[in-house]
Subunit: 195 residues, 2 copies
DNA sequence: AAATATCATATACAGTGCGTATGTCAAATT
DNA sequence: AATTTGACATACGCACTGTATATGATATTT
């Protein structure tokens, strides 16, 4: 087998194994010997490919973030209205953040180990998508002239916290609609002409 | 000296030393041997008083959270209008979260190590205060009938993320007003009769 | 007040995990 | 075919957490 193929395959195996371990045990408690063995490799491969444990987390976060952005984009594209698209994206983001994997890796360990999400290499695709939508809404005169990045960060932050709240609650299914309702009320604060 | 006094004093010394170490190096990188020595003690005292490293972080977080709540309450009390009080509290929260100590310990490591803030023993005093204010605003017919806890969580989450954004930015002083402006726009989304 | 018990802290130890330095073997190059 | 490259494995050292045991000062009891 070609060398580059082999390497790419091993990288993928390591990311997959680490993703599972990080999700199950958390970043700190995940043993590198353990999940490299699960991938049929050793730590040697890991250090060669990712530099250190942190680098591996960055790769895992990047992968999950890409998946989330793709999903959010698909949902936003369905709505042909930017405003409704934004609301739908927000709801989708809340629901995605209910996934234990997303929560543990992207929302809890990610910021603690890698720092602020907007500074990540992946640059938080989700945030970028929201910023673009807000930008359009301001240009079209639908939104008040707030700072687009600020608005996007606040909306994402609100959604993210709502998700953490839901996930920690004893009956998520009951809390979810409350959170989405509150999120959509909140978002109307940016509208020039509230409904 | 009396035994209880001594113990209380040592607890305080350990919390103070840990608080500094956690803020400077982060939870994971802070060595227990190092900061217990800085407090003139050893890990023996630590394990006796707090069980483990995590327990110590919980104590530190609790202390900082209390200080934040006291400050927020003082600011909220100044305004004799609940709505303006909420806006002022939000702004204050954003500014407090600019403190590197608050950020590193409460916003980054806290959630990663201890889990969702609303489940902490201290129960996030800040969140409770906001929830009560929102509750009053709904009773008074100023706010739409949203779920009070949901509203409080979203507002706090938005403020928190705004703070992380500001702190990571290269010129915080320029970004701060943008964030506060966006926050206040956002909050009007909860108003029954927007301004 | 003296003897004993208690308990807060110190000390010593074991286990584990990360990162690095070195080795090895297959694939690529010439 | 010989040589070089480099992806990965192996072996080692260091640091750190948590526990088990020791100690000595304070509290209790008689």
């Amino acid at each position: 087998m070609k060398r580059l193929q082999m390497m790419e395959q091993n990288r993928a195996k390591l990311i997959a194994a680490a993703r599972k371990a990080f999700a199950d045990k958390g970043y700190a408690a995940a043993s590198m010997d353990e999940f490299t063995a699960a991938a049929g490799l050793t730590r040697g491969a890991l250090y060669h490919n990712f530099g250190d444990k942190r680098g591996l987390l960055a790769a895992v976060v990047d992968q999950i973030d890409s998946e989330m952005a793709a999903r959010a984009q698909a949902i936003g594209a369905k709505a042909n209205d930017d405003w409704l698209g934004l609301l739908a994206e927000g709801a989708a983001y809340i629901e995605m953040a209910l996934d234990p994997e997303v929560q543990r890796i992207v929302l809890l360990d990610g910021p603690a180990v890698l720092g602020d999400p907007s500074q990540w290499p992946s640059q938080s695709s989700c945030l970028q998508a929201t910023t673009r939508t807000v930008d359009r809404l301001i240009s079209d005169g639908v939104f008040k002239p707030v700072d687009p990045e600020a608005a996007a960060r606040l909306l994402n932050g609100a959604a993210l916290n709502a998700a953490l709240w839901i996930a920690a609650s004893s009956n998520p299914q009951e809390v979810l609609p409350k959170a989405i309702g509150a999120f959509q009320s909140l978002a109307t604060g940016f509208l020039k002409n509230p409904i």
